[in-house]
Every structure is written in C-alpha cells, then in structure tokens.
C-alpha cells in the first residue's frame, strides 16, 4: 500500500500567514495546494517534505478577474473553475482547449492552476499554455511581491524561480484585440499526460502576424516556448506555408527524449505537426472564422 511518510501539517489562513509559516519551517516545508501532484509523489515517496503548509483555506486566492487589459487568475483557482469561466474562454480559447484535456474532471475539481505551474512537470499543459499567452506570475515573499514573466518562471524540470519562502499568488494574462489562440494535445488516452502538446496565441493585423506566442510541452522546449518559430512568424503573412514553416522551426529547436509515450523522432514530428495545426486554429479564431 502506497501511503505518505510521516509529515507535519499547518493550515494557512492568509497569504501573510502562509509566508510566516514558510519562513518558520524553511526548505523542509512544502506548499500544499490541490495536492494532486504533491500527494501522489508523497505516496510513492518521491517527495518527503517534513511540513505541509495547506493554502486551501486562503479562499481569496481563488478568483478569475478581468481588469482592463488583463485577465488575473488566483493561484488557487481550480482547473474546473478555469474551464467553466466564460470570461477566460472568451478571451483565451487556448485556456479552455487546454483545460478540457488536462487530467480528468475529478482531478480538475481539486488541482489548481498555480499548483500546476509550480509543479513544473516538463509535461505540464498549463505551462505551455501560459508560455504561449506570455503571461506573468506574481510571487509573494517575505520582502513583498514581484512579477516574473512566464518565460522566466521555470528554472528546469520540476524547478521554478519561486523560492522556498515564497508563494505564487496570481497569473496575469495580457488581453489584446485581434488575438486568436488554441491548444492541441496528443495523448495515448483521455486523462493521460501529453505525448506532446502545443499552444499558440497570435495577434493579427489583417493577414499579418504582429505577435506570436507558441508554447510546447513534453518536448524539452526552453521555457515551454518556441521562441525561434515565434520570431519567424512576426511580421509575416499568415499563410499555410508560413505556419508549416513555423512548425518545422519549432520542431528543430526542441529537445524531446524517448520514453514509453513515444520515440524522440515521433515527438519532434508532433512538435511540428501540432504547432502547425494549432497556429491554423489560432489564425482562424483571430479572424473570427471559428470558435
């Protein structure tokens, strides 16, 4: 029977309280959000924190707000809430595309947006989605808060820039007119982690791509992004050829590894195929051709 090793438990009632507890226990403590990454790892004893700091009681970290030019998502927002949020879906179709294929409905009831990002699993879906949307993350620490770009948030597999005495509190996504986005994942089965997934967020001025964000997961893309392909697209006309070329560039610049989900050459192929497809979806949505 796989059960966690012994652990202490503290309940945080506010961000300040959480920060105090984090400061008190230091690196031996781990934040407990939905627990849907942490508890399975604790059961398998791949994670053995000494103290858990449960933030589920900080209900004011659970929100989705529209503030002028930004969508702000509290860290404790559950996947299910993001999926149900019409305001999120209206501005970022990519979020609903992605949430629909993250885990399963029951896991989505408790797993949190912030927990997903902080877990920093190299196959995490939301990390790629937020990379595509060029969001920023708000991190609170003992010395106040700081804002970090999604492209700087991850420090490596299972590593983020959130320090052991810090707390991720919010994700901000810039809302810009003329945008279109989408997300496409290939998995071996519903509810499985991605073999490869790609997300795209484009800004169009007529037929010209004025800005492009491409997120890739499970292929070892730096910061879950395809920066070279984005650079290629900027200023070009959105033709099928251009999008396909961007897919190729994205594939050339990632570093997939073989595992039971598939050999590296297949994953590289998928990086190209899915990037191309999802760019097509983003273009169509930007033009209002599809929802």
């Amino acid at each position: 029977m796989q059960v966690p090793a012994q652990v202490e438990y503290e309940r945080a009632g506010s961000v300040e309280h959480a920060l105090t507890l984090l400061a008190r226990y230091g690196p031996a403590a781990r934040v407990l959000a939905g627990g849907h990454s942490l508890i399975p790892m604790m059961k398998l004893r791949l994670a053995q924190p000494e103290v858990l700091i449960d933030i589920n009681g900080i209900t004011d970290l659970c929100y989705i707000n529209l503030t002028g030019t930004q969508l702000r998502i509290g860290t404790l927002t559950r996947h299910a809430q993001l999926l149900e949020s019409s305001v999120a879906g209206e501005h970022f179709a990519i979020l609903h595309d992605a949430e629909r294929v993250i885990a399963d409905p029951i896991v989505r009831n408790w797993g949190t947006v912030g927990g997903s990002l902080c877990q920093a699993d190299p196959s995490e879906d939301l990390s790629a989605a937020f990379a595509a949307m060029k969001g920023t993350m708000i991190i609170h620490g003992p010395d106040g808060s700081r804002e970090v770009s999604a492209r700087e948030f991850h420090a490596g597999p299972y590593e983020t820039v959130v320090g052991s005495s810090e707390l991720l509190t919010e994700i901000r996504l810039p809302i810009r007119p003329g945008g279109g986005s989408g997300y496409r994942k290939v998995s071996r089965r519903a509810g499985d982690w991605p073999v490869v997934a790609a997300g795209a967020a484009l800004l169009l001025d007529g037929d010209v791509i004025t800005d492009a964000g491409i997120g890739l997961t499970a292929v070892g893309a730096t910061h879950f992004a395809a920066a070279e392909a984005e650079g290629f697209l900027r200023g070009r006309t959105a033709t099928p050829q251009t999008l396909a070329r961007a897919g190729q560039i994205a594939a050339e610049n990632c570093r997939p590894v073989s595992d039971q989900r598939g050999p590296a050459d297949y994953k590289r192929h998928l990086a190209c195929e899915l990037t191309t497809r999802v760019l097509g979806v983003a273009v169509a949505r930007a033009r209002g051709l599809t929802t």
Partner: protein, 793 residues
C-alpha cells in the same frame, strides 16, 4: 440445431432480469477482502526486489523489528526454516515465496513485514536492509535461449538453459506438404504483448489461524477457493478439513485471481507466527509488477491458400515468455494452453504449431486475462493471417472469410489439431455482423474518404473459442480433474439454496444460476439463493475462469435440479396416489396426464416430501440433491466482430468509431448479463489493441508498473457497441449454453488491429504490433515499427 433440454422448451425463468447482487452493491454494501476487519488484526507489507536479477547477499530486518509498531518480519530464511520458502505453481514448477538465493524479477517478494497498521507496515519496509549482487538479466525473450544467456533458474537441478518446454500440435509433414505446393503463402511476425488483467480490486487476503482448534480461515481474492484449499493443504501440511477459504465479493478477476501468490502464504504464515489475523492487500504496482501477467507470445505465423482464396493450412512458431517461474494456470497437459485452436473458424487441410516456452527475468504468469487458455493469442494470429492473405490476394477480407468459414453441416467438426467443435453456424453470424455494420456502405465510405485523404479502417475478426474445461480425462490442474459439483437444498416451503463451486467476480452467478435452477423447477429466481465462495458451504470444484462457470458448474446445477425434479415426481405421484408414469412436467409443475389442471408444484411437493406422507419404497424423504458435472467436451462459442476506426496519420491517433459484435454462446440464460460480458470484452480488446502493454527496459525494469504507465481504456475510448446474437445451442450441454465470459476479449483485439492496418493500407502498412499507440501507428506509417516488449528508444 437443437440440443437436449432445449427443443420446444418455454423460456421459464430465463430472460433479462435485473441482478440479485446489485441491491448490496449500489448501496456500497458489498464485502470485498479489504473490507474485512477482525479484532486484533495485523497488516502485512511486502518488501520487493528493485532488481530483475541479483544474488541476495544478506537480509537484515533488525531495524524493522525495532519499529514500535512492527510485530514480526518474515524473510526467505525464516520460511526456509519451515520448508515454505518455495511453493508449487499451477504448472508443476516451483516459485519462491520469499527469495532465499536470488531475485529473478523486479518486484519479487523478499521480506514480509507485519505491523499494527498499514502505514507502519509500509514505513518498516524502508528499515530492512538487503544487500544484492546484481546479475545480468534475461529480458528479451528472443535471446533467452542464446548460448551465453544468463541462467534464470539455477535452482532447478540439471537445468542448463532457459527453456521451459517445447511443445507442438498438428501434423508437421502434412502441413509442410500443403505449404510446399500452395499457390500463395503469406507469413508474418507478430507479438502479442505482455499485458495484465488489472481487475479494479487488487489481490488480498485476511488469514486467521487458530492455534487451539488448528483451523485456518482465509478470506482471499480467489477465483478458485476449493483449489486453493487443496493447495494450501499440500503446501503447509495442514489437514484440508481444517482449512476454510472464503472468497467474498471480488472486484473483478479475469484470471488474475486463479493462482496462489506468495503474499497469501506470507500472510498465512504470519498469522501462525503471531497468533493473530493478518491482512495483506497488494497495492497497484505490486499487482501489475508481480501477479499474473497475460500473453507475451512472440509468434511467426504463415497461411497457405489457393490463388482464388481457398485457405489450405496454417502453421506457427511461437516463443512464449513465461517469466521467472512457470506459473501459468491451465490444464496440465497443455503447456501452451489451447493455442492449437489456431486453425480458427476455417475449413483447412492441415495445421501445425510449435511453441517454446522460455524463462526470463520477468514476473511469472502467462495465462490470465480472459484468454480462454491462450485462445486469445491463437485467434489473433489466425485472424491477422487471414487479413494478410486478403491483402495479398487483393480480396475483400469479409468475402475471403465467408468463402472459408466452416459450414453448418460440417458440425460436429474435428479441426486439424484435434479439437471437436460442437456446433455452429458461422456464415449466419458473419452475415448478420456485416448487415448490422452496413458493410458495403462502409467500404464505399472508406473509398470516398481515401479520395479526400482521410483514413478510415474496417476490421473484421471471426473467432471460435473452446471453453468450459473440461473433460476430466484430459483436463486437470495439479492432478485435480476439472469437474465441478453443485448441491441443491430444497426447503420444506419450496425455497431453494444452490451451493456451487464456482466464484463470481462480477459475472452475476447469483442471478444466472438462480435462473437456471428456477427454470428447471418451475420457481422464480427469487426462490433460489445461490451460495458460493465458501469452501465450508459449497461442494468441490475448480472455480471460475476459462468461461467455465455456466458450461461446467451451470450444468451441474441443472443436473442437480433435474434430480430434484425426478424425485419430486415420485413424491407427487404418492401425493396424488398415481403412478409416476401418469405425470408430465409441464409449465413448471408435475401434472396429471390428460388432466393438466391436477398436479403439484415444487413447493407443495417439497412440503409433502418433508411431511408424514408415506413415500414409496426406495424413495428417500426430502428433495435435496447434488451432482458433479464432468463435461464430455468443451463448448465452442463463436462470433463475428467488425470494428470501424478513424486514423489521423499526422498524429497517429486512432479513434474507434463503431464496434459491431455478433456473438453465439448458445442458449442465453440472462441476455442482459451476456451482453454485459460482451461489452467488457470489447473494452478489453480496445485496451489491448491500443494501449495496454507492459514493456521492460534492458535492466529489467518494468515500464508498466502503475496506472500512469499501464493505461486502461476509459469511457471516452470505448464506443457504444452494437450487438447482435445468433443462438446455436451446444448439443452436449444440458441447456445448450456455451460460455461467454471471454468471447469478446478473445475476439476483439484482431478486429481493432485489422481495422487500423486497413486504414493504413494506402501507406503500404501490412502489419503493426499492439499496442497501437499514436507513436506506434506513426512509426508503422514510417515503416520503422517499435518493439512493443522493449523500452522505446
């Protein structure tokens, strides 16, 4: 075609009635092994080997023993002291209970901790220090017989290599002659990958040994409680009548709960040592990594035919990976199970197969997972071969099958490897399936889509199974003949208790068996209580697997009921002061010939049989009866399946769009339950064909040891099946029933694979091994397939 007891008989209690067992399950009131809690009960946990092959230098449990909640630790040395370090397997090999000399697969049992609660037992595992000397493992079955292959079983005296057995069936000379002269021959290598039945409930036991009475009571996940009782007696030396096995509600089994596992014995010994009840329940990785796997057949098959599509013969060479111990569960005489039914449903001239079993450093098992004793592998082989032949001949695969199927007048039919198929009307089943599918329309749609660059596949499989093992003269497990008993007690008020040797794991025996008996006795199913799973309360028999419950135990129940009915006739005659010859069994009563309004039903007769009524000489009182059924032959269910898939060649994703399944399992006692069995098997087929496989890396690490890695289909992968039925009764079964428990698991994988390969035909794909994950489909299109049994590189 009709069988005895079927012709003209009214349906009686048969029919799609809701199940009796559901009342407790929908309330959460089932009793599964892990639900059992006894006073003073301790909890066991097993320390397992992280290595696939290593010599054990030392095991130090002192720190674990010092844990305040630990009551005992068993090691291989402790068991050796009791002569229990090794146990016999169901294939007359031996298997280590706790390793003493070497570990031979990753996940092998090394030590058993007994603690006051589960959490402490798990904690204490980390306190046991084992020193291993790693040895090179045998992982690829195809190199297991190489001269320089490490020896897995150096414990077996005189064993110089990793060969378990060589076995063959059929006529080699005749088959070679057919192939030498055939106009067309096609061959193919195919792997039926290792999979695991993975019932939702893992294996477990609560063992309670009573030192005072000398009794051992065991609640365990057992599909074969009586066989387990005998085995425990043989292994431990405890007298058999002092052992009671209770198999409570089982959360699925599918073959994986047939064997006796080391954990069971550890819990039994631990209970003897501590004097307290001991519970052990596997976690999921233990289940997937150590208990009975299935399949793992590396096959080369060939088919010979005339140029115009008459199939002449098949032959096959098989390498069977049996893992570290030969622990397959099947009739002793058949080391490759019933694989030699690989001639399938066709009228052939000759067939020959040879199977070599090898030891590797992997978990033991092989026959499990609703496989009808390897009919699964056989059907897959021949159905793939027929499709390959169709491709070669540029013939429609349905037409090719129709052309070669056995015809109804050929039954009973003896196939080239010796099986005698009891009954069938194969063309009718295939025609019905094609009709339900709208086959011609599907082919038109396929052509049209291909024109648009869309890839849709239509896959057919036609299968014949042999189930209901089996005739005692040929079939036994460890010397126990495969006959099963049934006891019927008729209470004075005419309510009946049927006790059977088989054990439901979800198949609904409490309902189906009640229907069988009710039908024979003119009662309602509610009048019949079915008792099973408790060796103290039920007659001996070999249990539920291989689709044998209805064919064997169901027959025993019917025979017992007919004995009751016969005795009731004598009693009724006494009641009515007539001769028994004046009575006819009609509409559920013994009625007076010529005056059918006069008569007596079982309830009245039962009361009379228990009363002061004077019975004729030689007629015992009461109506109880028992029977033992020794089947004269297997029964041979069959079916025609059609699977429609859509393949995205850019990603390799496969969607199963439709699944049409026509099954003929003879007389259907409860059609609702029968269909439920088919639904399950179709999901199994989709799972196996598309995702379920267990591979190993070069160090012998199991790559399918959790539900994250060993994928089971969800509701989103399984289509809503379209079912059809034909009914060809078995001529030798008392009610004409055949088994249905495994048909769809056996028949569906080749339909899915044939469908995907059909979709990929424009890419020149002839064959692709399961599982057809997106990656494997894409690699098949690239012409660079991946070995499904090894780590992806």
């Amino acid at each position: 075609m009709t069988g005895p007891g079927v012709a003209g008989q009214e349906t009686g209690a048969y029919g799609a009635i809701p199940r009796k067992e559901d009342a407790r399950f929908v309330r959460g009131q089932g009793t599964f092994v892990d639900d059992i809690s006894l006073p003073g009960m301790l909890h066991g946990a097993i320390l397992r080997s992280p290595l696939a092959h290593a010599r054990i230098i030392s095991v130090d449990a002192s720190a674990a023993l010092a844990h305040p909640k630990v009551e005992a630790v068993l090691t291989g040395a402790d068991l050796a002291g009791r002569g229990l370090a090794w146990m016999p397997t169901l294939s007359a090999d031996v298997q280590a209970v706790l390793a003493t000399d070497k570990v031979r697969f990753q996940g092998q049992e090394v030590a058993f901790v007994v603690a006051q609660d589960r959490y402490a037992a798990r904690d204490a595992l980390e306190l046991i220090a084992v020193e291993y000397e790693p040895l090179p493992p045998v992982i690829d079955a195809r190199t297991a017989l190489a001269e320089d292959a490490p020896l897995v079983r150096d414990d077996l005296a005189g064993r110089a290599d990793n060969r378990v057995f060589d076995w063959n069936a059929g006529d080699k000379t005749a088959t070679d002659a057919v192939f030498a002269t055939a106009e067309v021959t096609v061959g193919c290598d195919m792997v039926y990958p290792r999979s695991h039945p993975a019932p939702l409930e893992t294996c477990g036991i609560v063992a309670a040994s009573d030192a005072v009475t000398g009794r051992l009571t065991v609640w365990s996940t057992s599909q074969a409680p009586h066989a387990h009782r005998t085995l425990y007696s043989v292994i431990t030396g405890l007298p058999e009548h002092k052992i009671r096995i209770v198999s409570p509600d089982l959360g699925g089994g599918f073959g994986s709960k047939v064997p006796v596992y080391p954990g069971y014995l550890c819990a039994i010994v631990a209970s003897m040592v501590t004097g307290r009840p001991v519970k052990w329940v596997e976690d999921r990785s233990e289940n997937l990594m150590s208990t009975a796997f299935a399949r793992d057949y590396h096959m080369h098959g060939e088919i010979a035919a005339t140029a115009d599509g008459r199939i002449l013969g098949v032959r096959a060479r098989v390498l069977a990976d049996h893992g570290a111990f030969n622990a397959t569960a099947q009739p002793t005489k058949y080391p490759a199970g019933f694989f030699h039914i690989f001639t399938g449903s066709y009228d052939l001239q000759a067939a020959f197969c040879e199977v070599t079993g090898v030891y590797t450093n992997k978990a033991p098992g092989g026959v499990a997972y609703s496989c009808s004793f390897r009919v699964t592998e056989a059907v897959y082989l021949v159905e793939r071969l027929v499709d390959l032949l169709a491709r070669e001949l540029e013939m429609d695969p349905a037409q090719l099958r129709m052309r070669n199927l056995l015809r109804p007048e050929q039954f009973p039919y003896t196939c080239p490897t010796g099986w005698q198929y009891d009954s069938g009307d194969y063309p009718r089943a295939l025609a019905l399936a094609m009709d339900l599918a709208g086959y011609q329309e599907l082919r038109r749609e396929q052509a049209e889509r291909r024109g648009r660059g869309e890839y849709m596949g239509i896959g057919i499989s036609f299968f014949t199974e042999g189930v209901g093992a089996g005739p005692r003269a040929h079939m036994d497990i460890l010397g126990l003949g495969m006959a099963d008993g049934a006891d019927l007690r008729v209470h004075p008020t005419g309510k009946v208790v049927l006790a059977v040797s088989v054990q439901t794991q979800g198949q609904g025996h409490e309902t189906t068996f009640a229907q069988l008996v009710a039908h024979e006795l003119g009662l309602t199913p509610d009048d019949v209580e079915v008792v099973h799973g408790d060796t103290d309360r039920t007659p001996f028999g070999l249990g539920t697997y291989g689709s044998r419950s209805t064919p064997v135990s169901g027959a025993a129940a019917v025979l017992a009921a007919r004995k009751v009915r016969d005795r009731a006739r004598l009693v009724a005659a006494a009641m009515l002061e007539l001769s028994p010859d004046d009575l006819d069994w009609l509409d559920g009563k013994w009625r007076v010939r010529g005056d059918p309004d006069r008569g007596a039903g079982i309830a009245e007769i039962a009361m009379a049989a228990h009363s002061s009524l004077e019975l004729p000489d030689g007629v015992e009182g009461h109506l109880d009866a028992s029977a033992v059924y020794n089947p004269p032959n297997l029964t041979f269910p069959f079916g025609a399946y059609i699977c429609v898939t859509d393949v995205d060649p850019g990603t390799g994703e496969v969607t199963v769009r439709r699944f049409i399944a026509v099954d003929d399992c003879g007389v259907r006692i409860n059609p609702m339950i029968v269909e439920g069995q088919v639904h399950r098997g179709l999901a199994d087929g989709i799972g196996m064909a598309l995702m379920q496989a267990i591979a190993f890396d070069e160090n012998g690490n199991c790559l399918g040891g959790s539900f994250m890695d060993y994928l089971l289909p969800t509701a989103l992968e399984c289509p809503s099946p379209e079912l059809g039925a034909t009914v060809t009764p078995s001529p030798h079964h008392p009610v004409g029933a055949k088994g249905i428990g495994e048909s769809a698991t056996v028949g569906s994988p080749p339909a899915v694979v044939n469908s995907v390969v059909d979709a990929l035909a424009p890419f020149g794909v002839r064959h692709a091994d399961m599982p057809l994950t997106p990656a494997n489909v894409w690699r098949a299109i690239q012409g660079r397939p991946v070995r499904p049994d090894l780590a992806v590189s």
